[in-house]
């Protein structure tokens, strides 16, 4: 065994007085090792000082003569009911909960008031340098809703291949147009034949793009001229939103 390990075990044995027949190798080592003797001797000395320090804490101190009177008075006082004890205990918990709720509420109100967006932050996933460059350049693009990011990335890739300028992201605006057919007017008391339907149409506009990018060979999406300036949903009175 190494001296350091023996010394550690010796300290343990000496502190708790656990020397026994199995400790003979340790004692043999102790007899011949000045360093271990110093360590164990120092530990014993420190314990002696520790006892002195602890005794000094209480030396000459005793409870005052009025302690018994106070105890007797309190012991004879009626014990508080369990309801009061429960209320006292729960008051602290409630106070803490109140503070936490106020903080959370303030944070939420701040979030809503500033119209902030919580975006998960993640590091670069790929090891490719070009991907890193792409991610860096993407950070310069004005923030778009999450669903459009992939589209912009696709356009960026195509533009880089062509050596063209960076397209204006506003030119690739995605528009969600909601057309909601009005509910059928009840002309009779009979059952309604058709259910009210809601139509959602996603239109990709590229009106201002200098170099419109086609992502596939399919025909470009049809732009409904009547829907180029769609009224805001629910702007007309009487229309259900």
């Amino acid at each position: 065994m190494r001296c350091r390990r023996i010394c550690r075990e010796l300290l343990w044995l000496a502190r708790f007085g656990e020397f026994g027949p199995s400790s003979q190798p340790h004692l043999d080592h102790l007899a011949g090792c000045q360093g271990c003797r110093d360590e164990v001797g120092y530990d014993r000395e420190m314990v002696r000082q520790l006892r002195t320090a602890l005794a000094a804490r209480i030396e000459g101190m005793s409870p005052s003569a009025t302690a018994w009177e106070g105890i007797l008075r309190r012991a004879q006082a009626p014990e508080p009911s369990w309801l009061a004890a429960w209320w006292n205990r729960s008051a602290g918990v409630i106070a803490r909960l109140r503070t936490a709720t106020a903080m959370a509420g303030t944070g939420l109100a701040l979030l809503l008031a500033l119209n902030m967006e919580i975006v998960p932050i993640s590091g670069p996933s790929g090891t490719d340098a070009s991907a890193e460059v792409g991610a860096t350049s993407l950070q310069q693009v004005p923030r778009l809703p999450t669903g459009r990011t992939a589209l912009v990335a696709l356009v960026r890739q195509s533009s880089n291949q062509a050596g063209a300028e960076r397209p204006d992201p506003e030119s690739m605006m995605t528009q969600v147009e909601a057309r909601i057919s009005p509910p059928p007017v009840a002309v009779s008391d009979g059952p309604v034949d058709e259910e009210p339907s809601t139509e959602l149409r996603v239109v990709l506009r590229a009106t201002q793009s200098r170099d419109p990018v086609r992502t596939d060979d399919a025909a470009p999406p049809t732009i409904d001229p009547g829907a180029s300036t769609p009224p805001p949903v629910g702007s007309e009175p009487g229309q259900p939103s």
């Binding site: 343990w12 502190r15 708790f16 020397f19 003979q24 004692l27 102790l30 007899a31 000045q34 003797r37 110093d38 164990v40 001797g41 120092y42 530990d43 014993r44 000395e45 420190m46 314990v47 000082q49 520790l50 006892r51 002195t52 320090a53 602890l54 005794a55 000094a56 804490r57 209480i58 030396e59 101190m61 005793s62 409870p63 005052s64 302690a67 018994w68 106070g70 105890i71 007797l72 309190r74 012991a75 014990e79």
Partner: protein, 202 residues
């Protein structure tokens, strides 16, 4: 060195009489156990007024739950446990923890280096130890107070601290280790170390 008696003797029927509502028995109970309880409270808090508050709380609680005390066993371990819990709840409420001791240790090293022949029990070293005890985690502090101040055995200390003997040993070991680190390097070499070790190979 003043050491608290390990076991305060109690009349056999003291707890039974107290359970019957005898206030004289309660006073006797208080006089029998007040010293070790107060010593524990004072050793932990180092504040006589706070220690007395803890003492009062402890005995009031003992009176209120007297029906649950076992007359066949000494109530002292239970009293110690209640005292320790009360002390730490109050100390944590007051947030009275020890201040950093780095500057003190630095001064000590310089001081002791200037006069290496000074005795081991210097006031400064004791002060370092006191601050080191204050800075120990509560469980380690409890362990050294029970074992080194009250002189309880490992088993008794473990019973009071509500842990097993191995855990108590571990707490003592780490407490001593932490205290040792706090002492200045010069003091780690004992004066007359070989003479301090007396081992029996029997």
């Amino acid at each position: 060195m003043a050491q608290v008696p390990v076991e305060a003797r109690q009349p056999d029927d003291l707890v039974e009489r107290m359970q019957g509502g005898d206030l004289d028995a309660f006073e006797e109970f208080f006089n029998t156990f007040k010293r070790p309880v107060y010593a524990t409270a004072l050793a932990i808090t180092r504040d006589p007024f706070l220690a007395e508050e803890v003492l009062q709380d402890c005995f009031v609680k003992a009176y209120r739950v007297r029906e649950r005390l076992d007359p066949s066993r000494s109530p002292l371990p239970w009293l110690h446990r209640v005292t320790i819990n009360l002390c730490y709840s109050r100390v944590s409420r007051r947030k009275s923890l020890a201040e950093p001791i780095t500057s003190l240790i630095t001064n000590l090293v310089v001081d002791l280096a200037a006069r290496p022949d000074q005795v081991v029990e210097s006031r400064e070293v004791l002060e370092v130890l006191q601050r080191g005890i204050d800075a120990l985690p509560p469980k380690q502090q409890t362990a050294i107070i029970l074992y080194y101040l009250h002189g309880y055995s490992l088993a008794e200390s473990a019973e009071i601290a509500d842990c097993n003997v191995g855990t108590m040993k571990s707490r003592l070991h780490y407490a001593l280790k932490a205290l040792r680190v706090r002492l200045p390097v010069e003091r780690r070499i004992p004066v007359g170390a070989p003479a301090a070790v007396k081992v029996s190979t029997r």
